[in-house]
Symmetry: C2
Subunit: 306 residues, 2 copies
Amino acid sequence: MRESEFIEWIRSQSQFDPDIVPVGPGDDCAVIACGAERLIVTTDQVLDGVHFRLADHGPEAAGRKGMARNLSDVAAMAAAPFGAVAAVALSRGDLLDQAQAIYRGLRCAGDEFNCPVVGGDVAVWDSLLAITVTVFARPDGIEPVLRSGAEPGDAICLTGAVGGAFRTRRHLQFTPRVREARVLADQYHLHAMIDVSDGLAADLGHICTASGVGAQLWGDVVPIHPDAERQGGEDRPGLAAALGDGEDYELLFTVSADEAQSLLKRRAVDVPITHVGVITEGAGMMLICPDGTSRPLAPTGWEHQT
Amino acid sequence: MRESEFIEWIRSQSQFDPDIVPVGPGDDCAVIACGAERLIVTTDQVLDGVHFRLADHGPEAAGRKGMARNLSDVAAMAAAPFGAVAAVALSRGDLLDQAQAIYRGLRCAGDEFNCPVVGGDVAVWDSLLAITVTVFARPDGIEPVLRSGAEPGDAICLTGAVGGAFRTRRHLQFTPRVREARVLADQYHLHAMIDVSDGLAADLGHICTASGVGAQLWGDVVPIHPDAERQGGEDRPGLAAALGDGEDYELLFTVSADEAQSLLKRRAVDVPITHVGVITEGAGMMLICPDGTSRPLAPTGWEHQT
């Protein structure tokens, strides 16, 4: 089962009044009317053996990641977080120590963004540690940025550098780009945005699918993180990892070419931003390779030629 | 580790501005300011082997219970639910079938209370099925009813009957008392309320602790569900099960003696309501036994005499 397939099925099952649920399943967060306000909400789990390894990383890092992943989804909408709840399924062992360490991790990530843990649920079971966090946010003066607004001709921009996050502890220790997203969306008209969790190619694919557009990604300028593995035989070492690894939690967004020029010149935020490609008409993504040739880019990463 | 101990520790770790977080950890839901509105929120998980058995009950019943448990927490605050998100950790197998059945179960419970599933997260792991649901609600004209408002002299009232929910499928198929809670809290000044999930004695204990009061529970009138196990040697068959089993998801609330009289006479809601005891000064709970003697009632259920 691919998650995107399941989400498509869910979307086919649910019809929302756009005044009540302006954004349903399939974006980084949902948006739902809460009386006169709009509530922006996301839920995400971190699981032992999938998103962290308890034996290696410990419960505090797991809790921190649980909160930070959700805050990254909030950042992807340029929303302002204001609170969270967490449900924790503890494996048997030093329960109180484990629970307290997880809570410290949640707080460590949440406190930085004024996102208190206001409630939760703890249970014990004969299985592995699972942490589910739900974060609430508000537009607070900035219209939520969706995945679906990219337009042909848009510049594709990326904060930071990508690749290899799982080879180090970076996938546990990243700082969600909440502040950067707010500043950028306040000063520029961002057409579409997503956080890079599945991988640069996959997440660009999500924007393209949601927006009904294609993309051209420039392989020679994609910022490759030093963590990225340099495999033999690549025309640019580390590029495959940068495109496919994921868990970078950087912001990938599109703006008009004019605004991109201004944004890149002005250095609106402290983190580096790179113009990595352009949105195109139609469907499908192309990778312009460092040697000047181009090839189809699958939304799961580099599509190897056979 | 006892959950109450951990919650106490969490409460010692968090200081909230009461204008921003009027109700933090430790009640059935949290209450948090969302701009000009108040958001009432709860998160609860159902775990294979703890809250359901996947092999026996199937994924749809598990999903239904995941939503209904949360709606029961919302009912305990007399709040009006308006949406939910769900995170599902699937064990390997027929993933799409499993995911779709869980979603149908969530919808089955949510649709009845205008509580759509607006977002979620699905992952696959080498472990057991875990479903975490977060439900959002609003006061919508009715002040949230907390656990902490019980006063000496209050009548203790209970909807429905309790005991033995785990001996049948009742713990999977109950209807959360959302409507009843709204009607009661609209028409009467409920001082304190909780849903019976841990067990009648334990949940009455939660009200007493939060309110700084004691209670006298009348063993001869506690409504015992037909599911409750009748053990030998009890002075009233099934009473121990009624006090200790839990997972009944009935409403336990306190009101002034005068209001209780009116409420019991008027049959404000369709479900039967029984006056099962009285709130007392000081701490500690007493069970008035059917034979007229009294004994201490532990918040974990019947305290057997040794």
